[in-house]
């Protein structure tokens, strides 16, 4: 795979601030989030880590307006917010080829970005492949391209690199890093990879027992290499165990 070039295009996105106060969410009797309070500044990049089943996806869905919650949930400053979600599953439309899946919902003048995004995630030449003709990692990359091609104000990524090998993953990291630096979207990245969290974001949140248990700021310049974050990683790992 070639090193991913930058997803270029007009800069339309501007980050939005997020304000959660005493946010609770439950499925029936099962309480998932309890009185969670959190502020995220406009354009901030935040990673969310936590145990499997801990409620990360639930929080992300709440931010996307897909889960009903109780408490205060304030996103943006009143203007419409362009939110895009990369779900934990790929959610590609089985009846559309890769390119059409990426172009989904893009206004006509922005369609060209779809082909570019597909190329950037290393899938040039597979534009017409149906999702069932792609490998798991390829499908995940199509979903990533779809989320990125939209230039959202608020980008919510739910384990976007889980099915990728180390090399491809590094390419995708670089791609996302550049894109975020270019556009300044407020970003929430759910990941199981601490190194990834530390490399890509400015703040790592640990979700446990329905609350934000740790809130670690990563004050390092982008792009970061692995060695830059080695110490922090060790620190975080100790916190987690």
């Amino acid at each position: 795979m070639s090193a991913a070039p930058v997803l270029t295009g007009p800069l339309t996105a501007t980050g939005v601030p997020i304000e959660l106060r005493d946010l609770s969410a439950a499925y029936g009797e099962r309480v998932i989030l309890q009185d969670l309070t959190l502020s995220i500044a406009a354009g901030e990049r935040v990673a969310l880590v936590g145990a499997s089943g801990g409620g990360k996806t639930t929080l992300l869905r709440a931010l996307a307006g897909l889960t009903s919650t109780q408490g205060t949930l304030r996103i943006g400053t009143g203007a419409p917010v362009r939110t895009r979600v990369m779900f934990q599953e790929d959610r590609l439309l089985p009846w559309l080829g890769a390119l059409d899946n990426v172009a989904l919902g893009l206004p006509r003048p922005d369609r060209f970005r779809a082909a570019r995004a597909l190329r950037d995630v290393g899938l040039a030449g597979r534009e017409r492949a149906y999702p069932h003709e792609l490998s798991g990692g390829q499908r995940q990359r199509v979903a990533l391209a779809r989320a990125l091609a939209h230039r959202p104000d608020l980008l919510l990524l739910d384990e976007p690199f889980g099915a990728l090998d180390a090399l491809t993953r590094a390419d995708m990291h670089a791609l996302l890093d550049t894109l975020l630096t270019d556009t300044g979207a407020t970003t929430l990245l759910i990941t199981h990879d601490l190194e990834e969290a530390l490399k890509l974001t400015d703040r790592v949140l640990l979700l446990a027992d329905g609350q934000i248990r740790e809130d670690l700021t990563v004050a390092l310049p982008h792009p970061r290499r692995r060695t830059d974050v080695e110490d922090l990683r060790a620190h975080l790992e100790r916190l987690l165990h």
Partner: protein, 277 residues
Amino acid sequence: MTVGARSRERARPEVQAAGTPSRRPGRAWQGEWIRWLVPLLVVLGWQLAASTGLLNPRVLPAPSAVITAAWELARSGELGRHFLISLQRAGLGILIGGGLGFTFGILTGTFRAANLLLDTTFQMIRTIPNLALIPLVILWFGIGESGKVFLIALATFFPVYLNTLHGVTGIDPRLTEMARVYGLSPLDTFRRVTLPGALPGVLVGVRYALGISWLALVVSESFGASSGIGFLAMDAREFFRTDVIVLAIVIYALIGKAADALVRTLERRLLPWQVSA
């Protein structure tokens, strides 16, 4: 129920205070009566047209006249008798036709050989009208109950068959593959994969079959019968009883509603796992 995208970019409310819980049983009930709105309006408009003389009662009697006819027939026990015998015929026909349709739908959906052998034959029989078959049915079954049940079974066979077949072929092939790899016995494959996967489709077929069985009743009760709702309707037509004709139509409509409610209940019971339920 899916809901269409509303606007391109939704303005998000600044503060979503005390968000609404996702399940609203109150709301659901509240909605139910609306289902009767249109039928009610139709009946009202009809009565209005009749009372104001807009409608010639010789041609379409007023709802009140239909209710009177219903009352008279009901009081004499006639209506109940006709209804019960039709219900019995329809029930038996659906059991046989639906059962066979389900069985063959599963077979042709599961086994390519069965599909090749039988599907075309079924598709060909499907378009033969009941009416055209009556002479043959009388020859084979005489004029007793069996011929009537046969016609209903025939009519209900196809919707169940087609929708079962479609349900089976629509099962995610990745799940079928998994079942194969996990060495499921044919019975387990059927119970655990094929049946639940095809069930939503089967129920659409059942819904359709419940309706069509009453249509088939009209045909099957048009010969050699002196009872049943279909007989009532045809006889009324013969004897120019417009009030009874319309009454029969109303009864059919109510049966349609009952069948719909029945399938809705079945869906709720049998498909608890449906995310969209």
